[in-house]
């Protein structure tokens, strides 16, 4: 019954939720803020309000349907045949949800295609209400209505997850009160003094950071409990819990603290912490729009004018520092790292009180806090880097006339963003230093955190120049759009955060370093302030372009995996992975085929056929080496999913031993390795397969990197020596096939 409720209600509500989140923030009204005649803008604003009200009504309707079903569930009087909901209602709701999804998709597409100038982009944050000819009261009412609708759907979702209708309505009331209070405050924020804005910015950051932390913490609890075999999560359904965690919008720089209502309700036992965080978050959520606006508003500029003492000398670094100081009060600037520190301190105190039963020891809490700071610090650096690049783009006529070397610009900006990023290490350091002596492992992890923050700050600056620099921002900013560059930044960062074992961490960290070096090399080309468009001057390196295409591979895989729920239900879960990989693999191959035209292509068949035999034997040898490593160094045994059906097993076999080798070798050896070769000095060209193998292993997040690196080396050397892709594909295929066969035999045999 639970799964039925989930399938019928939770799915649509989740979809609504996602759709609304996107529409609210990435905004169909975005276009309405362009440079159009005033009347048109207003008209567009009115139309969009109508649209939004329509959406709210749909959500209220959907929520009502869900609540009816929930009532049945709670009363435990469900008929044997399922819940009685008119099929018409559900299909209508589904239709609307599809329309919403389509609308979101099209608006997103338009955002990416139209590439508005950044001046317009900053105005998007003002929210749609400011575009309307409404009185403050009417605005407050409109805001209330949309908040209420949003909250209702959310509360419904929360109620389903927690099984408590009362809890849902308490959350709803809390939300509405907070949202309205926030809106009323926001109306007045325009006239607030600078210090008060600083405090607001700080409170907002605290709320966001706490909400991120809480969700991550809960996620960690769920994960560790599942690991320990304690699947029961205090009576709640672990899969709903997972769905809740999965709601996390991965492509958003900040978080919708409304998720916290669900968290607070779901974990009624956490009461205090969750409620405080949720309440604070919600108030700040409503303030967010306005605060973000005031951060860059005239108001702060006015305040900046009253600052005493002009700087006499301003280096590139100095100018960055001064501009940052002028842009926002210090509390607003330090808000995120401070909030991160305070949030972790509060969380650790809470943990010490023993109120939160984690089921794992203190080192894991420390590991969690390190991962948390990596994530928040990484994202905050991206935002800061984006700001500094925006300043430079605006001052381009000045900079273009000055003798500034591109690397000097990158260095100065990187130094500032790095100094900021490293402040995020304070939280875990506090945690480790306060409660007990730090272990060697923890000290190493802390050093790793600092290195990762330094490197990712540098990467963020380079990526900001690559995406926004040169006077021609490529696509929408706001830290919200999913760009291939961001995926590339995140993959190694997640690797460092979540891979297990020191060797795997080192692999991920090193790949972050290599990626940074390449991004920096590419960015140096885009800091030259040339006016030529992309077609005339290459502003990216061939290697970076190749990497970008791989950046497309991950999101495509995730999206297809998410969409495949429609085709494959829970019982055929393994097929989802097959479908997702197969489709994204095909896309990768097509993109490679289309975009690698600047590189000499390698033929598939070698000139001498015996290279194929060598390829197959090398695959077997690499498999043998892997087995030795896994058994004798790691002390484990690879095993496959023993419940998988025969057909799924067969499909997996075709996937890993045919499709994956062909696609991956075509990309890694056929393009990336060639691109690296073309960039290396002649005497080093023979070694291009080493960085290619490294990239090959680094993208396999969650796997043991060393064996994959070795396989990459073997395949790369084969491609280089035979001047063809066939032997490398064969080696890869044989390796994968033997690994799968071995694992299946082990698990079936064991069973």
């Amino acid at each position: 019954m639970t799964s039925q409720v989930r399938a019928q209600v939770l799915g649509p509500v989740l979809a609504q939720f996602r759709a609304l989140g996107r529409i609210t923030w990435l905004g169909v009204w975005r276009g309405a803020h362009g440079e159009r005649p005033h009347t048109l803008r207003r008209l567009a604003g009115v139309l969009l309000v109508a649209l939004r009200l329509y959406i709210v009504l749909r959500i209220v309707y959907g929520s009502a349907v869900a609540l009816v079903m929930l009532r049945d569930r709670v009363a435990a009087s469900m008929p044997a045949g399922g819940i009685e909901v008119s099929p018409d209602h559900l299909s209508a709701a589904r239709l609307v949800l599809w329309a919403l999804a389509l609308l979101t998709l099209s608006s997103r597409l338009r955002d990416d295609l139209s590439a508005p100038r950044h001046e317009q982009k900053t105005r998007i944050d003002e929210g749609f209400l400011s575009a309307l000819p409404l009185s403050p009261h009417a605005r407050a009412c409109a805001s209330f209505a949309s908040s209420a609708g949003y909250a209702l759907s959310f509360a419904t979702f929360a109620a389903i997850a927690s099984g408590s209708v009362t809890g849902a309505f308490v959350g709803l009331a809390l939300f509405v009160v907070c949202a309205c209070a926030g809106d009323l405050l926001a109306e007045r924020a325009g006239s607030w003094p600078r210090w008060l804005l600083g405090i607001v910015a700080f409170a907002r950051a605290l709320a966001v950071v706490c909400s991120v932390g809480l969700v991550l913490l809960i996620g960690a609890v769920a994960f560790y409990r599942a690991q320990l075999g304690k699947m029961s999560l205090d009576g709640a359904d672990p899969e709903i819990f997972e769905a809740l965690i999965a709601l996390w919008p991965a492509d958003r720089a900040t978080v919708d603290p409304m998720y916290l209502v669900a968290q607070a309700l779901f974990h009624g036992r956490l009461g205090g912490l969750a409620a405080v965080t949720a309440g604070l978050s919600l108030a700040m959520y409503a303030l967010r729009v306005r605060t973000r606006r005031t951060e860059t508003s005239e108001l702060l500029v006015q305040a900046a004018k009253t600052d005493s003492g002009f700087a006499d000398t301003l280096s590139l670094f100095g100018v960055e520092r001064l501009l940052t100081a002028r842009r926002a009060p210090w509390l607003a600037r330090a808000a995120t790292p401070l909030a991160c520190f305070l949030g972790l301190a509060a969380a650790s105190l809470w943990l010490m009180r023993g109120r939160l039963i984690l089921g794992f020891g203190q080192p894991d809490v420390f590991a969690f806090s390190v991962a948390f700071c990596m994530l928040v610090g990484g994202q905050a650096s991206v935002r800061r880097a984006s700001h500094t690049v925006r300043d430079d783009v605006a001052a381009r006529p000045l900079l273009a006339s000055l003798p500034i070397a591109p690397r000097a610009t990158l260095r100065a900006k990187t130094a500032l963003v790095q100094a900021y990023a490293v402040s995020f290490a304070a939280g875990p350091l506090f945690l480790a230093a306060t409660f007990r002596a730090m272990t060697v492992t923890e000290a190493l992890r802390l050093v790793e955190l600092v290195i990762v923050l330094l490197v990712s700050a540098s990467l963020a600056v380079s990526v900001a120049f690559l995406t926004q620099g040169n006077g021609a921002p490529r696509s929408a900013s706001l830290g919200a759009s999913t760009r291939f560059e961001q995926t590339l930044v995140l993959v190694p960062l997640f690797g460092v955060m979540f891979d297990e074992g020191r060797l795997n961490h080192a692999f991920a960290a090193l790949s972050l370093v290599l990626l940074t070096l390449e991004a920096r090399r590419a960015a140096a080309k885009s800091v030259r302030w040339t006016d030529d468009d992309d077609a005339q001057v290459a502003k990216q390196t061939p290697v970076w372009r190749a990497l970008l295409v791989f950046g497309a591979f991950f999101p495509i895989q995730l999206v297809i995996q998410a969409l495949s729920v429609v085709i494959f239900d829970e019982s055929r879960r393994e097929w989802r992975a097959v479908l997702a990989y197969a489709s994204s693999g095909v896309v990768l191959a097509l993109l490679t085929f289309r975009a690698r035209s600047d590189q000499p292509s390698l033929p598939f068949a070698p000139k001498r056929a015996w290279w194929l035999a060598i390829g197959a034997l090398s695959g077997l040898a690499a498999h043998g080496a892997t087995m030795l490593y896994v058994r004798f160094v790691l002390g484990t045994e690879p095993a496959a999913d023993k419940d998988a059906s025969l057909s799924a097993l067969l499909a997996t076999f075709v996937l890993v031993s045919v499709l994956a080798p062909v696609v991956e070798e075509y990309y890694f050896r056929g393009w990336l390795q060639q691109a690296i070769t073309s960039e290396l000095p002649r005497r080093l060209r023979a070694f291009a397969f080493v960085p290619a193998a490294f990239a090959f292993s680094a993208v396999h997040v969650g796997s043991e990197h060393l064996p994959i690196f070795v396989l990459g080396l073997v395949a790369g050397a084969l491609a280089y020596l035979s001047r063809s892709l066939g032997p490398a594909m064969l080696a890869h295929g044989v390796y994968n096939a033997s690994l799968l066969i071995g694992a299946t035999c082990t698990s079936r045999g064991g069973a």
Binding site: D312, A395, P397, I404
Partner: protein, 248 residues
């Protein structure tokens, strides 16, 4: 070609259309050189090519012995450039912007201010120093851009529409300044303008561009076909819009 300022067959095409087509000139002496031409003739493109902000489709340009395309940083260190539409860091004052320029160019701030202070007075640019750049009008931005271009006392000055947006007294001050720089400081000033009055009063030599081609090069006296031919008549004739009457 090793001149102060020179171009050799300089060509730039945008989407197949030639914005500049085989332009060649050399400037070896101090003086004020006017780059004249109707809108879209390729004046700003010439400046951007000289400064290395664009890569030529063919030909080359050189400033102070440095190749404009391959050594843009060196070119920018010897030349001063004032763009047509200046922009600065919004949150800095004019004084801070100049402090930044001094630091980036490796100038001694005190020496820079000793040089700039009289110029500030001459251009009536006092208000430009203390206000925030983001709030400047076009005229104020032009003044600050001129100060930025002059900060390192360059021997080569590239000025794109320098008096555009300036009030009449400031424009007169700027004109006098250009001539003084050329006479007393051995400076080559290349300025683009479509104000024939400015060109006639202050330029020693004129380069006339039309649809990307150099159609006239010389002093006003050299460009005249008949005595007392006005610059306007010369200009109209060169850009192909000459009234036939002026020929007779």
């Amino acid at each position: 070609m090793s001149a102060r300022l020179g171009a050799e067959g300089l060509t730039k095409t945008f989407a197949g259309r030639a914005a500049l087509d085989g332009v060649s000139f050399t400037v070896d002496t101090a003086g004020v050189v006017g780059l004249l031409g109707p809108n879209g003739a390729g004046k700003t493109t010439t400046f951007k090519l000289l400064l290395g902000m664009l890569r030529p489709s063919a030909g080359r340009a050189e400033i102070g012995g440095h190749d404009c395309t391959n050594e843009p940083t060196l070119v920018r260190s010897v030349a001063g450039y004032m763009p047509d539409e200046p922009a600065f860091y919004d949150y800095l004052s004019g004084r801070e912007t100049l402090a930044f320029v001094a630091e980036v160019r490796g100038l001694d701030p005190a020496a820079m201010w000793r040089w700039l202070d009289p110029l500030v007075h001459e251009l009536a640019a006092e208000t430009v120093l203390e206000g925030r750049c983001g709030a400047f009008s076009l005229g104020m931005r032009k003044k600050l851009a001129l100060l930025v271009a002059l900060a390192h006392q360059p021997k080569i000055l590239l000025l794109d529409e320098p008096t555009n947006g300036l009030d009449p007294p400031s424009a007169a001050g700027a004109r006098a300044l250009f001539q003084r720089l050329a006479r007393e400081h051995d400076t080559t000033v290349l300025l683009s303008t479509h104000l024939l009055d400015l060109a006639e009063k202050s330029c020693d030599r004129l380069l006339v561009l039309d649809r990307g081609k150099l159609v006239g090069d010389g002093s006003l006296a050299e460009l005249r076909r008949v005595r007392d031919e006005s610059l306007e008549a010369v200009f109209m004739r060169l850009v192909g819009k000459a009234p036939v009457a002026s020929e007779t």
